[in-house]
């Protein structure tokens, strides 16, 4: 089954930019992604630029509105994602547990709706 792991954290959570802790965490992210590939679970995964780069579009009733910023003001920000292919929810949540962001943010595990 395919699952999305949606990675959320508060804007200033996690190690500070440019700190040795951040360098250490980067290594962890690489190792984590590599482990996912080795296990054959990795389908896709990327970090996202911050919410200050977001543009939100609505086109209700043909009325297109573009807004500078995220869809909703929230404490927890979507900062990246992984798409994995595993056997069941237990295996998906096991990857979620191991994700570095789970220590200070959260990982939402969502099954992908298969349209075939």
């Amino acid at each position: 089954m395919r699952y999305m792991l949606l990675l959320y954290s508060a804007e200033n959570a996690g190690p500070e930019q440019g700190s040795p802790e951040q360098a250490a965490e980067m290594k962890e992210w690489f190792a984590y992604t590599e482990a996912m590939r080795t296990a054959g679970a990795f389908l896709a995964g990327d970090p996202l630029h911050g919410i200050e780069t977001a543009t939100t579009i609505t086109a209700h009733d043909g009325n297109v509105i573009s807004t500078d910023g995220p869809f909703a003001e929230t404490k927890e920000i979507l900062g990246g994602y992984y798409m994995v292919d595993v056997e069941n929810l237990d295996q998906a949540t096991e990857w979620a547990e191991k994700c570095p962001i789970a220590r200070y943010g959260s990982v939402e595990v969502r099954p992908i709706m298969e349209m075939g």
Binding site: M1, Y3, E87, N88, L89, D90, A92, T93, V109, P111, M113
Partner: protein, 434 residues
């Protein structure tokens, strides 16, 4: 076959049937539906002279045929059909397989990705075989609401790929804990409902004890199969610990349930442990609890449920409230606080200390809890504090604390009891104030 005989077979065969079908069909709803169809047919067809020699095998064959019919009528699960057609003519699975299927069903229904209400409802429906209507009644929820809850849970199980499998050895102990928490929630719902007029809904207590006994047997059966490693690894220790705690929970529920008939009087009012008629306690349940706790202790993995059972066991064996071995109870609470610290454990320990030493010592401990603010809405905190204040003759403060407990309770029997205490205090106050 009489109606009650059908009911008996139903109770014994239901979880086995649903468990096997869940594996065969890979879908909980279809398994449940097919099992239900097979039982309906059994109820209609079985008579005194037409009882199958192996009701389990008969039910399974019938249920598999019903499932095939259902799949042929609809479009879903078509991919399962070839395998199922083969299965329809094969006998019941091996005993070892049946054990794992049933464990898988229990662990699936109590999966941590589902909310507690869903886990409780699923367990009662799929494992205990209670009808949606019965579960709704037991939880004082309209049948339609309970049905929605079950549908939502089954939808998530299907869409999110919640596995119905025996957990990996590394997860087994944690997952057993999850199951035990659900069994205990079912029991406490039966024992003390926090809402409504009935303090006791004993059927849920019976279901909970039955579930625990089934889980003990299944875990023993599961562990009895030769594992991949011959020596006792950490993981196997975890598995034994899980079994010991299941036995501890069974003992705890047996001791608690032995007092069922004495918890309320004939007019439905609450009777506290110290005032209960101990001659009416169910000796058979107490003996059950004692032998189960003794077996659990021989496994050498003491855990929170075993400690709570040991405390309940001391009460069950004591002649009366005053000659209870409070020192040992405090000691057991000390251990419980170390293993599973929680404000509720601290509160119960404080109450035991008040008995072992002085009410004032217990009160000081409760006041610390009050200051922490953690149990501010917990009725037993205020009721316990009120009781100690009353015993110390601090009547005004006791009345205030009882009022606070009343604000936190919605159980009619408990409310009546708390109001009664306030009335008693105000009567005893009149002479003492003048």
């Amino acid at each position: 076959m009489s109606r009650s005989r059908v009911a008996e077979v139903f109770a014994n065969e239901w979880p086995v049937l649903v468990a096997t079908l869940t594996r065969d069909l890979g879908d909980l709803s279809l398994a449940e539906e097919s099992a239900q169809d097979a039982f309906t047919e059994a109820a209609a067809r079985w008579g005194p002279d037409t009882t199958p020699t192996k009701p389990g095998a008969w039910l399974l064959t019938t249920a598999r045929r019903k499932a095939i019919d259902t799949i042929r009528r609809g479009r879903r699960f078509n991919d399962r059909l070839p395998a199922l057609l083969q299965l329809a003519e094969t006998p019941q699975p091996e005993p070892a397989k049946l054990i794992d299927d049933q464990l898988a069903l229990i662990f699936g229904c109590c999966h941590p990705s589902l909310n507690h209400e869903a886990r409780i409802a699923l367990t009662l429906r799929q494992v205990c075989g209670l009808s949606t209507n019965q579960i709704g009644e037991a939880f004082l929820v309209p049948t339609a609401t309970m049905a929605k809850r079950l549908v939502r849970a089954k939808k998530k199980i299907r869409a999110a790929g919640v596995p119905f499998k025996v957990p990996e050895p590394a997860q087994l102990a944690d997952r057993v804990d999850d199951v035990l928490a659900i069994i205990y929630l079912i029991f406490t719902e039966g024992h003390t409902s926090s809402d409504g007029a009935n303090l006791l809904r004993g059927d849920l207590c019976d279901e909970a004890r039955w579930l625990a006994s089934v889980l003990i047997d299944l875990l023993v059966g599961h562990g009895a199969q030769p594992g991949p490693s011959a020596d006792l690894s950490d993981l196997e220790h975890d598995a034994i610990a899980g079994r010991a705690e299941t036995m501890g929970l069974y003992a705890l529920m047996s001791f608690t349930d032995s007092r069922r008939s004495t918890r309320t009087n004939s007019s439905g009012d609450l009777v506290l442990l110290d005032d209960q008629d101990r001659s009416q306690w169910d000796r058979q349940l107490i003996a059950d609890g004692q032998s189960m706790l003794a077996s659990a202790m021989t496994l050498g993995h003491v855990g929170p449920y075993q400690l709570q059972a040991a405390i309940a066991g001391i009460h069950a064996q004591s002649q009366d409230w005053s000659c209870t071995d409070w020192l040992t109870i405090v000691e057991l609470y000390d251990n419980l606080e170390k293993l599973a610290p929680s404000p509720v454990v601290s509160l119960n320990r404080a109450a035991a200390v008040a008995m072992a030493e002085e009410p004032s010592v217990g009160l000081a401990l409760i006041d610390e809890l009050v200051e922490s603010g953690e149990l501010d809405d917990y009725r037993y905190l205020h009721a316990g504090r009120a009781d100690l204040l009353r015993r110390l003759g601090r009547h005004d403060e006791a009345t205030t604390a009882y009022r606070r407990a009343i604000e936190c309770s919605s159980n009619d029997a408990e409310l009546a009891f708390l109001r009664q205490r306030i009335t008693e205090i105000s009567r005893s106050n009149i002479p003492s104030q003048r």
